[in-house]
């Protein structure tokens, strides 16, 4: 939970942390390599600085450090690309940070909606029973068995190809929640069916609680542990889904900095080989997924993390 809160914080604070505007282009600095911060020069220790770059061969985009000039801050004339720059001379680090807003934002919101949708459908199935229950659960099984990314792809394919950034955001959240709900629904239904036979549920019924009050106030709180475990499955899966969709051109369109859209730019073989720092968003995806896996592993070591990637 702390980790998810941390992700929310990154989403909110990204524009303040990013050193440069994500769209700002530095002419003459296309494909500049990363400029690692240094503390030492020939004589003594300094505050962190980097040597400025100068183009050795502007056509081939080869750069060398200019030992006579130093970059001390992000405000100076010469840019400081901690993670290098891309084809338009834009700072990769800033774009990864701003990209976190879209990529993590989509994952968090879709997870929230998938949990709400799943809990609602699960509760409805448990409450209704009979053929409604059977029908809803068969539907859930059907969606679970399909390879998620194809379902996402087909659903996304049913929408217009060209959308504005906020439309893409909304479309992705909708599509991902539609794919993510079934496991949640199955689990919630199972828990509710067991819990409603317990004594506290009996007591609530005895004092005249209505069916919906019983479910909403007494039974659903029992699913909290299950729901937070599901959240640790859904968030990484959705981060990967955004990356895949944008990578294949069905997500955010290029100037928009999402992790998948940035990977799309870096995806051509020769570009990735010559400027591997453009794969930085891949590192961001792996780091996000790894952090969620590791934290979930510590908090509930008994639950197998095998099906983590299985959601999509």
């Amino acid at each position: 939970m702390k980790l998810l809160a941390g992700f929310v914080l990154i989403v909110l604070l990204a524009p303040a942390i990013a050193p440069y505007e994500p769209g700002r282009q530095f002419p003459g600095y296309q494909y500049a390599p990363p400029m690692p911060p240094r503390l030492l020069d020939a004589e003594r220790v300094h505050a962190p600085f980097a040597y400025a770059l100068h183009a050795v061969d502007p056509i081939e985009r080869r750069y060398a450090e200019d030992r006579s000039r130093r970059v001390n801050s992000f405000a100076g004339d010469a840019p400081w690309f901690l993670l290098g720059s891309d084809a338009f001379g834009r700072d990769v680090l800033s774009r990864v940070l701003i990209g976190a807003r879209l990529s993590l934002g989509i994952a968090l919101l879709s997870t929230l909606f998938a949990l709400i949708l799943g809990a609602g459908i699960g509760a409805a199935a448990a409450h209704a029973g009979g053929w409604i229950d059977a029908l809803l659960m068969r539907l859930a099984d059907f969606v679970i068995v399909l390879p998620g990314i194809y379902v996402v792809l087909a659903l996304r394919g049913a929408l217009p190809l060209v959308l504005s950034t906020s439309q893409v955001f909304a479309a992705m959240v909708a599509v991902l929640s539609l794919v993510g709900w079934p496991t949640v629904a199955r689990g919630v239904r199972g828990i509710l069916i067991i819990e409603r036979q317990s004594e506290y549920a009996e007591a609530a019924r005895a004092v005249g609680a209505s069916a919906w009050r019983l479910i909403g106030r007494h039974l659903l709180p029992a699913t909290r542990g299950f729901l937070s475990a599901q959240a640790t499955l859904l968030v990484p899966a959705f981060v990967m889904a955004e990356a895949t969709l944008s990578f294949v051109g069905l997500g955010f369109a290029p100037p928009t900095p999402s992790w998948g859209a940035m990977l799309h730019d870096a995806g051509a073989v020769q570009i990735a080989a010559d400027a591997p720092w453009l794969l930085a968003p891949a590192g961001a995806v792996v780091l996000t997924v790894f952090l969620v896996h590791a934290s979930a592993d510590r908090s509930e070591p008994s639950s197998a993390p095998i099906f983590r990637n299985q959601v999509l």
Binding site: Y150, A154, L155, T244, V269, H293, Q310
Partner: protein, 303 residues
């Protein structure tokens, strides 16, 4: 045989439902294949009529169903070829990739899991952490990373299909996350198996530890691992989509993406049929394997 019959029917139902869903979604999509080019309205209308796109959806669907019963999946609009032939060629490519990756994943993941599940030294702990890391790398990223390495070193060809050397990058990219998944499962399962009284009895009889692990423990731990193979078929498919696109492997995923982008309805449905058939076959195979290996799950009781 009731079990096989019921599972077979469920598989057919899956294929039918997926194909219908794909047709419906392709229909809901705005625009159609005929309207995509800079043509005059008259030409567009003529093309629509030629491709049968001007009829109501119910009729188109009925016609498609009737044809597909005779295994005729119609013509692809963009390739001007029968969908069945196109899909067959591409599905074979995907199958080569998926089967190789599955073999590699099994050969790596199972021993990996047995080691991490039965030992507790520094190496086992390192291997466990490694699997958690690999589990965090989706096929899209593993293929991009391997592609970059291959391009920089020139050890392996980076895209397309050719000899067996072309298989290395896509196979590894697809197999690694699945190997890590198998490792987690096998690790837990053999840990449980080694805690059972039968293992203690085997040790008490003086059977060497490695034999206890590999013969007694491993065999008992197989059922949960085999059970997951049905699910793995699904993740092989999801994974191969990303891998095919990154490494330009001419498989079903790449074809499906093109078909979706160009609104080639017949081709979308054809790809969906092929994909669903693969999926159903994989799940069926895993069910049968499970029933055969675990005597407690007799084929009769598994319905």
């Amino acid at each position: 045989m009731g079990f096989l019959l019921r599972r077979g029917l469920a598989a057919l139902l899956l294929v039918f439902a997926v194909a219908s869903g794909a047709l419906l979604l392709a229909q809901l999509a705005p625009g159609d294949y005929a309207a995509q080019f800079g043509k005059t309205p008259a030409q567009i209308a003529a093309d629509r009529h030629r491709l049968g796109l001007d009829r109501p959806f119910g009729q188109q669907y009925a016609a498609w169903l009737k044809r597909s019963l005779t295994l005729d999946l119609g013509e692809s609009f963009q390739y001007d070829q029968p969908v069945a032939a196109l899909v067959r060629a591409r599905a074979a490519n995907t199958a080569v990739l998926a089967v190789t990756a599955l073999i590699v994943a099994t050969a790596v993941g199972i021993p990996w899991g047995v080691v991490t599940g039965s030992r507790n030294g520094a190496i086992a702990r390192m291997l466990r952490a490694l699997s958690l890391l690999v589990l965090s790398v989706p096929p899209l990223i593993s293929s991009l990373a391997l592609l970059t390495i291959a391009a920089r070193t020139g050890w392996f060809p980076v895209s397309g299909m050719g000899g067996p050397r072309h298989l290395v990058v896509p196979t590894l990219a697809l197999a690694l996350p699945i190997a890590a998944m198998l490792e987690r499962l096998q690790s837990q399962s053999i840990g449980d198996a080694l805690d059972r009284p039968s293992t203690t009895a085997a040790r008490a009889r003086g059977i060497p530890e490695s034999r206890v692990i590999w013969r007694h423990g491993w065999r008992q731990s197989l059922a949960p691992v085999l059970a997951v193979y049905g699910v793995i078929v699904g993740s092989l498919f999801s994974g191969s989509f990303a891998v095919e696109i990154v490494t330009s492997w001419p498989g079903l995923g790449l074809l499906m993406q093109q078909a979706l982008m160009t609104r080639d309805t017949n081709l979308v449905a054809g790809c969906a049929v092929a994909g669903a058939a693969f999926l159903a076959a994989g799940i069926l195979a895993s069910d049968i394997m499970l029933a055969v290996t675990d005597p407690r799950m007799g084929i009769e009781s598994m319905s």
